[in-house]
């Protein structure tokens, strides 16, 4: 008897190595299950809305066999719309996850476990990337039925899909951590994310813009991800491809560092 009690008290603490893989996986799966649980809202609804966008823009603007960037208007539009759906959903996933957890007070359940700031950032961001890429696949498959989709360079497609989802996931986390109420994050969505994604060349080639605005467009990181992603499909780009690859990588590194610091210092997370 005595022996058994002692052996209980001598249970060893689980050793965590350099990286808490199990914790990271658990956090990631929590994020993925969160959106899969309501997949009609998180996967199907964006798919329907994006297909409707494709329909109305093609009907309104694609009349008379108009061509943009050397391809039919619908073929030009499709990659931009896929990208828009991906980034909006990646952003929505991480930002809503953090804001809801903060408002309801259960953010402690994420902050208490033995997860480092880097693991938190990576786990939550990976959840957002997963949603973004899944929405992109769903929308892409839906569009494939209606629009001839050609693939020019799959590497560009994959790189920009992942990098753009990651960028918006990180932005969503930063926005979510900064927000104290739902109003705040709604304001970020309405006044930052939506304008950037609408005015980034999704719906038109930026060659059509006045000169001054073309310069401005080149400072919009959203422009590079849509441009590079579209290049992967149609083989035509408005801007420099190498610059696009570099901008996406550097911007993501910068955002990762910011998010990491927010978790490490507990900015608006810990009392």
């Amino acid at each position: 008897m005595e022996h058994q009690i002692l052996s209980l008290s001598a249970t060893r603490v689980r050793q965590i190595g350099r990286v808490n893989w199990r914790g990271l996986w658990t956090l990631y799966m929590k994020e993925v299950r969160r959106f899969l649980n309501v997949f009609t809202q998180t996967l199907l609804a964006p798919m329907v809305t994006t297909l409707l966008f494709l329909a109305i823009f093609t009907l309104a603007l694609g009349g008379g066999g108009r061509e943009v960037g050397g391809v039919a208007f619908a073929t030009f539009l499709a990659p931009g719309l896929i990208m828009m759906a991906m980034v909006q959903n990646a952003f929505a996933n991480t930002s809503s996850s953090i804001v809801i957890a903060k408002v309801q007070g259960n953010i402690v359940d994420v902050l208490m476990p033995p997860l480092s700031a880097g693991e938190l950032t990576l786990g939550i961001a990976a959840g957002g990337v997963t949603r973004g890429v899944m929405v992109g696949l769903a929308v892409g498959l839906g569009m494939w039925i209606f629009v001839p989709v050609t693939v020019h360079n799959p590497l560009f497609i994959v790189y920009h899909a992942v990098m753009a989802s990651l960028m918006l996931s990180l932005l969503g986390m930063i926005g979510g951590i900064w927000s104290e109420k739902f109003d705040h994050i709604a304001a970020v969505t309405n006044f930052v994310i939506t304008p950037f994604s609408f005015l980034s060349g999704t719906f038109y080639s930026i060659e059509r813009l006045p000169d001054a605005w073309q310069v401005v467009a080149h400072f919009n990181p959203f422009f590079y991800m849509i441009d590079g992603f579209r290049y992967g499909f149609i083989g035509h780009a408005d801007g420099s491809l190498v610059l696009g690859l570099a901008v996406m990588a550097l911007f993501n590194l910068f955002l990762f560092a910011v998010t990491y610091r927010m978790f490490a210092t507990g900015y608006r997370l810990k009392p």
Binding site: L44, P46, F57, L61, G63, A187, F198, F203
Partner: protein, 283 residues
């Protein structure tokens, strides 16, 4: 104790508690104060409290939508004879803001109160189901019209409207606001969780709004789809409303008005009966 008593008669026992005094004052046929409380205090004030989100959000997204057409798509010709693309689209975008805000207000309000259990506070008050439904619907419709007015003023910066027919514009925007407020009320009663609300929004409201002929004339539709648009009530709403700005319509505005009035009446009866029956709001 006034009045004369017969000599020697025992004074009749006064009731222990004067229940009659406590009965609510006669409301008359309509409890105006209760109706106003639901309309303003319960609906409109809540909408205004989130002013940034509820008014500025639709404004920004509507203007961005329009900007995409104005900036990127010049020289695309005319959508209807003598009507350019942006003049054609702008009224529809305004009406979409009206419709979407009206729907969102009534539906989200009811779902939120059901989730938090405070809808009982409205049901307990001495207001009839008809008064509750009227308060909800009128407040959501007013919010939709407020949002639409703001968007209309915003679009005027980008588009030159050639005319302004007040009766068409006013009539069709009010009918649309009521229609979507009623749909929102019914959807809000039906929804048990937020994702039900999201499903109605994503699979009913957005398709109805986007495929309503806001962005294209019927002639632009492929052959097989032209008949289908006549089954979308929002098509008539957009068409009549737009006629107030551009002076021409694709169908008869009178027919559209009659259809919208009939549909509104039918939905109002449904919403009223659902509330009266306590559909999904009474245990």
């Amino acid at each position: 104790m006034s009045g004369r008593r017969a000599p020697g008669a025992v004074p009749s026992a006064q009731p222990l508690l004067a229940f009659r005094r406590w009965r609510p004052a006669g409301f008359g046929p309509v409890n105006w104060r209760g109706l106003w409380a639901i309309y303003y205090g319960y609906g409109v004030r809540r909408f205004l409290r989130f002013g940034l989100e509820t008014l500025a959000g639709p404004l920004v997204s509507s203007l961005l939508f329009l900007l995409v057409f104005v900036v990127g798509q010049r020289d695309l010709g005319e959508m209807l004879p003598g009507v350019g693309l942006t003049e054609f689209i702008a009224p529809g975008i305004v009406l979409y803001a009206v419709a979407y805000t009206a729907f969102q207000n009534s539906a989200a309000m009811i779902v939120m109160d059901k989730m938090e259990g405070v809808i009982a506070d409205v049901q307990m008050a001495p207001v009839s189901p008809l008064e509750i439904v009227s308060g909800f619907v009128l407040s959501a419709a007013s919010c939709g019209l407020a949002s639409g007015t703001l968007v209309a003023v915003g679009t005027a910066a980008l588009v030159e409207y050639s005319r302004f027919d007040a009766s068409l514009i006013f009539g069709f925007s009010v009918a649309t606001a009521l229609l979507f407020a009623l749909m929102g009320t019914i959807a809000g009663l039906w929804a048990e969780r937020w994702d039900h609300y999201g499903a109605v929004e994503g699979f009913v409201i957005v398709p109805l709004g986007l495929l309503s002929g806001t962005f294209f004339s019927v002639a632009r539709l492929p052959e097989g789809f032209r008949e289908w648009i006549y089954f979308n009530p929002v098509f008539y709403a957009v068409d009549g409303f737009r006629a107030g700005f551009i002076g021409q319509a694709e169908t008869s505005p009178a027919l559209g008005a009659a259809l919208l009035i009939a549909l509104n009446l039918a939905l109002a009866v449904v919403a009223w009966r659902l509330f009266a029956a306590g559909y999904k709001i009474r245990p």
